[in-house]
């Protein structure tokens, strides 16, 4: 089972230290990043639907 004791065997550097699918922190950050990305996507998509384009007079 993954945990802090098994994370010590992995030695990542750079961005992979924080975003990987092996360590607990890496997996958590990937999940949060994916969900945050989807939330942002929905926010901008729904936001653009609410404000219609202004008609030129």
């Amino acid at each position: 089972m993954a945990g802090p004791e098994t994370d010590a065997q992995f030695h990542f550097t750079g961005i992979r230290k924080y975003f990987n699918s092996y360590t607990l922190t890496g997996r958590m950050n990937c999940v949060l990043a994916t969900r945050g990305g989807i939330a942002l996507l929905l926010y901008f998509k729904l936001g653009s639907k609410k404000t219609p384009a202004v008609k030129a007079t």
Partner: protein, 226 residues
């Protein structure tokens, strides 16, 4: 016969008053509270069965998970006794109602999830991404795991409802077929009657198995979060 097929699943009422609460509470009188150190045969057998079940079910849990022992044992006893009582002729089975099963599944599942997020936040969030997932598959797998999490309570409730309802419907249909065939062909009616006996034995097993499966899955969700 067609309009009577689903009549047994309607919420029962007596003189215009709903009695479904009384029916839900009825199984509790079949489990008397032990009042002595050495009890009578009924209570002793029930205590032995509860001890056997709880030992097996709580073996995988740590200290925190074992605080749910009373909840899990009450759950299996309630669902098991309700399902078995529903096999009596002309009785109402509360576990055929999706509303009731959702009312059991959603709070229990939510309790396990909230427990996990409260005490092991990092591990609970990391649970949504299986270890060793290839990089290109990470976003889609996170989405799939999130969806599978929210489907868990629905699956719990629908599994119990569908199994018990289907069993009752089959008994009703095959019983009706047996009666109808008596005047047409006695041999066919006898064969149908044998099938009905076998089906009833199967439904006894399904009643207990479904109670066990429901409780076991709640226990597994708890184990993942403690």
């Amino acid at each position: 016969m067609n309009e009577n097929l689903f009549a047994s699943f309607a919420a029962p009422s007596m003189m215009g008053l709903p009695i479904v609460v009384l029916i839900v509470m009825f199984p509790s009188i079949l489990f008397p509270t032990p009042s002595r150190l050495i009890n009578n045969r009924l209570i002793s057998i029930q205590q032995w069965l509860i001890q056997l079940t709880s030992k097996q079910m709580l073996a995988i849990h740590n200290q925190k998970g074992r605080t749910w022992a009373l909840m899990l044992m009450s759950l299996i006893l309630f669902i098991g006794s309700t399902n078995l009582l529903g096999l009596l002729p002309h009785s109402f089975t509360p576990t055929t109602q999706l509303s009731m099963n959702l009312g059991m599944a959603i709070p229990l599942w939510a309790g396990t999830v909230v427990t996990g997020f409260r005490y092991k936040t990092k591990a609970s969030l990391a649970h949504f991404l299986p270890q060793g997932t290839p990089l290109p598959l990470i976003p889609i797998l996170v989405v799939i795991e999130t969806i599978s999490l929210f489907i868990q309570p629905m699956a719990l409730a629908v599994r119990l409802t569908a199994n018990i309802t289907a069993g009752h419907l089959l008994i009703h249909l095959i019983g009706g077929a047996t009666l109808a065939l008596i005047n047409i062909s006695a041999t066919t009616a006898f064969i149908t009657f044998i099938i009905l006996i076998l089906l009833t034995i199967l439904e006894f097993a399904v009643a207990l198995i479904q109670a066990y499966v429901f409780t076991l899955l709640v226990s597994l969700y708890l184990h993942d979060n403690t």
